[in-house]
């Protein structure tokens, strides 16, 4: 197939990982379809255990702007941060093709910063979701926003994705370290940057789906 063994195996791993995430998202869809939907105007929406919540009513908080209702603004920011870190990653791969060590270092560092920023945002969002706005918040066994299953899926899906982001940051750091210490120059090629780049783009790709099916729909 005209690709190296390592790249091919990374692709096959990503296929299997895509199935895992599909399993989570599809079961979310199934459980959601088995709950009654909220009927009525969006502006009259109140949290209730009786029906599935409208996500934009749940995720409308923004750090440092307590009490304001900015639906999905924070998730939108997180989406943009992840897209940006995907771009810096692809620029690192491009620099690797040119064997430009300084540029690889620069773009890998930006990618790591983007990943850490995303994780920080997610930590804030989890905290806000768990603590709540005076309504008791949510845990695996209680949920102020709607059916308990909604909170369970929130923790599992965004948590599983966050774990991927975390391991991606760790991998990116290893690549950065090995670039700085000159391993890839000695090896003569920067293919590892490309392989880990595939994984990092996949993490971004999964977020695109989580964003649509968990936050927008």
């Amino acid at each position: 197939m005209k690709v190296s063994y390592g790249k091919l195996m990374m692709w096959f791993f990503l296929v299997s990982d895509a199935f895992t995430f599909s399993g989570l998202l599809v079961s979310y869809g199934m459980v959601r379809a088995s709950h009654p939907a909220y009927e009525g105007a969006t502006k009259d929406f109140v949290f209730s255990q009786e029906y599935w919540p409208i996500p934009e009513k749940v995720f409308d908080a923004f750090p440092f702007f307590h009490g304001h209702s900015w639906p999905l603004a924070f998730v939108g920011l997180m989406t943009f941060i992840l897209i940006l870190s995907s771009v810096t990653m692809v620029l690192a791969v491009e620099a690797g093709h040119r064997r430009d060590r300084k540029a690889v270092e620069k773009w890998m560092l930006w990618t790591i910063i983007g990943g850490l920023t995303f994780l920080g945002c997610q930590a804030w969002e989890w905290t806000h979701f768990i603590v709540g706005d005076g309504g008791g918040g949510a845990s695996l066994t209680a949920n102020q926003y709607g059916p308990i299953a909604f909170a369970d899926f929130f923790f599992f899906i965004t948590g599983f994705h966050g774990t991927h982001v975390f391991s991606g940051v760790v991998l990116n750091f290893i690549i950065y370290y090995r670039t700085v210490t000159g391993l890839y120059d000695r090896r003569g090629h920067y293919e590892m940057v490309e392989k880990v780049g595939l994984y990092w783009h996949f993490v971004d790709l999964v977020w695109v789906f989580v964003f649509t099916f968990f936050y927008l729909v």
């Binding site: 599909s22 959601r32 088995s34 897209i83």
Partner: protein, 107 residues
């Protein structure tokens, strides 16, 4: 060639400006589609049409990430199909389980 010669032979090539421009274009497409999704989310009532629009725009974004960032669109066709075709199983899974789920709600 010994590994030492290899080290010395490394030459840094100049930035391929056209390639970088192309990547930035993809970034703006992804950001733009996300903005469009937001506009739809706040101007349209929840309906089957809206969900279809979201799914369509998500597939557009996924296409650009996989094809350009992950470079799959420029790989050999056999590699491309061995990655993309297995995803058809997921399409089946979605249809089957959403249908089953709505039945659970009815009965």
């Amino acid at each position: 060639m010994s590994s030492e010669e290899n080290t010395n032979a490394i030459e840094v090539q100049p930035v391929d400006k056209a390639k970088v421009r192309h990547l930035l274009k993809v970034m703006w497409i992804l950001a733009g589609v996300t903005v469009i999704e937001f506009i739809f989310a706040f101007t349209m009532d929840r309906s089957f049409v809206l969900v279809s629009i979201f799914v369509l725009l998500t597939i557009v974004k996924a296409f650009y990430i996989v094809s350009e960032f992950m470079h799959l669109g420029h790989e050999v066709k056999s590699l491309m199909y061995s990655i993309v075709l297995p995803m058809l199983f997921v399409v089946w899974l979605i249809i089957a389980l959403i249908y089953e789920g709505s039945m659970l709600h009815t009965y």
